[in-house]
Every structure is written in structure tokens, then in C-alpha cells.
């Protein structure tokens, strides 16, 4: 379970990296950068420690709310990460198909632009100085 530790004006949250991958932690941390100072520590295999310090001085209650908000955001980013991971192949397939079809369209010349009967070539170029 996540553990909150309060220090003077900051909160330390200990997370299990098997439940919350680093990508999700970074996403949630980025969201909090605006109004807080965020520092990451710990060990990637055992324990991730997120330290959050509000830019404005905070009371302990506010710090606890901040910690809970962070955990909510972390769940959100965790879900996003899992969905993105699960849909990766289908996403790549869709983008690849779209790009390939776009290349096909650009490469093809429209039929109406082709001059099968050589109509656009002037008489002089076609027959030179031949007399009628």
C-alpha cells in the first residue's frame, strides 16, 4: 500500500513500481509541476519515492489532500499507460495503413491527365516540316 510521510513542508509518497510503472509516475508528476516541486528518488525495482513540495507554504491537511490527489492522478495515468500499451499494435497498424494508402494516392496519375492520343503535342513538333 502507498505510504505517506510528512516532513516540514513536503510529502513523501512511497510507491510499488510493480503496480505503478515509471511512465505513469512521470505523467502524474508532470501534472503537478505547475504548482509544486516534485523530486523522484528510490529504486526502480523496489520502491519509488515521490517527494512533493507545494510552491506556496502548505499545512499538513493540504499536504494530505495533495498526496491523495497525486494518487488519483497516478491511477489515471496508469490506466492511460496500460491502454496505450495494449493498443499499440492496432494503433501502429491503423497509422501504417493510412500512410500507405496516402502514398498510393499521391503516386497514381489520374486517367484524364494522360494523353493517349498525343493531342497536346503541336502539329509542328509531331510532323516537323513535312509538307501537307
Amino acid at each position: 500500500m502507498e505510504k505517506f510521510n510528512f516532513e516540514k513542508d513536503k510529502i513523501k509518497i512511497e510507491l510499488n513500481p510493480k503496480i505503478y510503472p515509471l511512465e505513469a509516475v512521470l505523467g502524474a508528476a508532470y501534472f503537478f509541476l505547475d504548482k509544486n516541486y516534485v523530486y523522484l528518488d528510490g529504486n526502480l525495482n523496489r520502491k519509488i519515492i515521490v517527494q512533493i513540495k507545494p510552491k506556496d507554504k502548505a499545512k499538513k491537511n493540504t499536504l494530505e489532500d495533495l498526496g491523495n490527489d497525486f494518487l488519483n492522478k497516478l491511477l489515471h495515468y496508469n490506466l492511460r499507460y496500460q491502454i496505450s500499451k495494449n493498443n499499440r499494435k492496432i494503433r501502429e497498424y491503423i497509422v501504417g495503413t493510412a500512410l500507405l494508402s496516402a502514398i498510393g494516392e499521391a503516386g497514381e496519375e489520374d486517367d484524364w491527365k494522360k494523353d493517349f492520343l498525343d493531342i497536346s503535342t503541336p502539329w509542328e513538333e509531331k510532323y516537323g516540316n513535312e509538307k501537307k
Binding site: 512521470l26 508532470y30 516541486y37 523522484l40 528518488d41 528510490g42 526502480l44
Partner: protein, 76 residues
């Protein structure tokens, strides 16, 4: 304009699993005008030594520097 420098030093330990060299270097480039930075690449961490800190940012430079690195990692 000459900026007032603080003699206070600061040392920042950044674990390699969480922070990467490219982002740390980018942050040093961005904050270069406010202090002197020295980055030591150790086995499992970066040790950033900050000296001659501009007095106007003395209290927050360490925290802002960390935030900048995190933003750089996310956007880079």
C-alpha cells in the same frame, strides 16, 4: 548587469533510473546564467554541484532545477 552571487553551495543527487543525462544537461544549459553547475556522472546517480548561486533564486534554484529536468524528460 552584474548579478549578486551567493557563496552557498548545493548538491543534488539524481538517480539514473529516474533522471537521464540529456535532460540534466538541458537543465544545466537553461540555468547556466543563474549559477555554476558541475555534473558528476557516477555509477547509479548524477551528482550535480551548484555553486555561485544568484541571490535572487538562492532558495528555489534546486527545486526549480529538478522540476525543469522532469519536464524535459516528459517532453523530450
Amino acid at each position: 548587469m552584474e548579478t549578486k552571487k551567493n557563496r552557498k553551495k548545493a548538491v543534488l543527487i539524481l538517480k539514473k533510473g529516474f533522471y537521464n543525462r540529456k535532460a540534466v544537461k538541458a537543465a544545466i544549459r537553461a540555468y547556466n546564467g543563474l549559477a555554476d553547475f558541475e555534473c558528476l556522472d557516477k555509477k547509479d546517480k548524477f551528482e550535480v554541484r551548484i555553486k555561485n548561486i544568484d541571490k535572487s533564486v538562492g532558495k528555489i534554484i534546486k527545486d526549480e532545477f529538478c522540476n525543469y529536468i522532469l519536464a524535459e524528460i516528459k517532453n523530450g
